[in-house]
Each structure stands twice: as structure tokens, then as C-alpha cells.
Amino acid sequence: MSGGPAPLKLRESPAFKVALSLSIATGLYGVSFGALAVASGFDFWQTMVLSLLLFSGGSQFAFIGVVAGGGSGVAAMTASALLGLRNGIYGMQINAMLRPGGWKRYVSAHVTIDESTATASGQSDPDEQRRGFWTAGIGIFILWNIFTAIGALAGDAMGDPKQWGLDGAAVAAFLALLWPRLRGREPWAIAAACALATIVAVPFVPSGVPILVAAVVAGVIGWFSHARMDEGLEPDVDPYAEKHRREHGGRK
């Protein structure tokens, strides 16, 4: 896009390669989203609209998760919106990094998610950052939607979701989304406090609301804590997992 001194062939760009394999890994689990959404009572097009327009894995799973548990549409929307707050931070970071102008801002905003931001932030050269962001963003968008459709169609054909353990798949999906963010003692403490608050709230408030109670607890902790800046802002699939493992036996 911007003519650097020696234009690198796309295939030789490290950011491009990382972004491509990340797109495949992330896109693939769109299958589980599609299947779970249909099992939770969403029709094919509702499922697709969530992947096409909402396009933020955690928020999509949250929306269907609340509805599957008997929660209201308002509760589902609120949980999804709160879980998406971090994307605003990512937008700010990408804007500072790439400075997209004009219409490109509106497109880049849509593909601003955990994975595209992480791919870009892992590079130091501005051209590589740009390649990483756009390849991961657009690549995941395309594959995520294709695999959502496959999952939704497969889920429709599967019949009784419980027999296939799809409610167990939802539990596993949320734990897998949480897992990469549990680095260090404080995230564990926050997770434990919010899990406890949820369990205590379940018998007393309508379905879906316990999740919002946990959000308030998490918000209060965040407001008064002095933990590291990027806590909780880790991608579901770490694009540089190999490198991080080699360097410190984990992420910094």
C-alpha cells in the first residue's frame, strides 16, 4: 500500500504468514459458534447476522449464551456490548498505529478484533503492522463467516443438541475464551470473584442478569485496581505463541 524502499513480496512477509495461519485457526472455530447458535434456538439468518455484523467472537458467544440460558434479549445485548468494550481500546491502538484515513477507517473498525490487533501489535515495522492487521482482519472475517454457515447448517441437521453434548461445548468454548486471559494472580482472582458473584446471584435474579452482576463486580475491580495495563486484552488465539513460548515459556 505505502511504497516502502524494497517492496516485500507478500508471501515473504512474516506478518502475512502469521495472519494467515491465525485466520485459519480462528475461522475454524466459527463452526462451533454456528452449531451452538442454532442449538440455542437462533435461526440460520440470525446466526449469520451475528457473525457478519457483530463480528466479535466473545460477544457473539455471550449473546447466544445468555439466550440459551433463558435470559432476555436485553440481557443478551447488554452482556454482548459490555464484552465488546475492549474493541474500543483496540480501535484506538490501531488508529494510532496505522492512521487509516477516509473510508478505510470505517472498514478497519469493523475488523478490529482481538486477533487482528494482536497480529499488528506484535510487529514493529509499520508496513508489517499494516499487512498483519488487514490480513488477519479480512481473513478471519471471511473464514469466520463461512465456517459459521457450515456450523449452523450442521447444527440444524443434528437434532437434539443435548444428545451431542452441545451444552457442554458452550461451557468449553467460554472457558477456552477465558483461558488465555488468566495470566498472573490478579486475573485468576477477578475470574474467581465474578464466578462466585454469578453463583450467588443465580437463585435471586432472572436468567441472564447474574452475568451483568458479574460485569459490575469486574468493573468495580477494574476501576480501583492497579494491575498491568493490558490485562484481559489478550487474543483468543495468540498469533505469536511459538515466539512467546521460546522467549519466556509463556507470554510476557
Binding site: F61, G73, M77, S80, Y90, A169, E231
Partner: protein, 103 residues
């Protein structure tokens, strides 16, 4: 129809949240408090969603096959399995426990 409405509102809010980052001056969002709240909120909501899906049934708390799914997923994650393998482990554990007549 009602669900459609909330889906579309959720989509609009998701996009606007992303867009805000591009238009609000960085100084405003870069405040450590806002960063912390966005981060802890993500952890707290995911922890809560995990628990709700594992043990809540309406307004009751039950221990059924989904606990097996939670344990299986935890083991898979601990073994560094990729996302899809973790999800399949959870489904398989729940399905198997039901086949054995529990939950």
C-alpha cells in the same frame, strides 16, 4: 421478531464501540482506568458465562453432565489443545456422561 431487534442493536453497539476508538482522542481512552475496566470486564464476563453455562438451569443450580464438560475442557486447555479441540472435548464429555446415564 423481538430477538431480531436485540440482535440488531447488539450489532450496532459492537460496531460503534470499535469506531469510537478511531474517533475519540487517544488521550481519553488511554486513561489507565478505562483500560483496566475494559480488561477486567472481559475476564469477569467470560468467567461468569462459563459458570452460568456449567451449573445454572433457569434460576436453579444443578450439577449435571456439563460439569464433566468443564473438567474436560480444563484438561484440554492445560494440555495446550487448540480452541476447536477444547470445544469438542467439552461436547464429547457431556455426551458420554449422558450416554452413561448421568445428567
Amino acid at each position: 421478531m423481538n430477538l431480531w431487534l436485540w440482535i440488531l442493536i447488539a450489532c450496532a453497539l459492537a460496531y460503534l464501540t470499535k469506531l469510537v476508538g478511531y474517533f475519540v482522542p487517544a488521550k481519553l481512552l488511554e486513561s489507565p482506568r478505562i483500560m483496566h475496566v475494559a480488561g477486567t470486564m472481559t475476564i469477569g464476563l467470560l468467567a461468569s458465562l462459563t459458570v452460568v453455562n456449567a451449573v445454572a438451569s433457569g434460576q436453579g443450580l444443578v450439577l449435571d453432565a456439563r460439569i464433566g464438560a468443564l473438567v474436560a475442557a480444563g484438561v484440554a486447555l492445560w494440555l495446550r489443545a487448540p480452541f476447536l479441540v477444547v470445544v469438542i472435548s467439552g461436547a464429547a464429555a457431556a455426551a458420554l456422561l449422558r450416554l452413561l446415564g448421568w445428567g
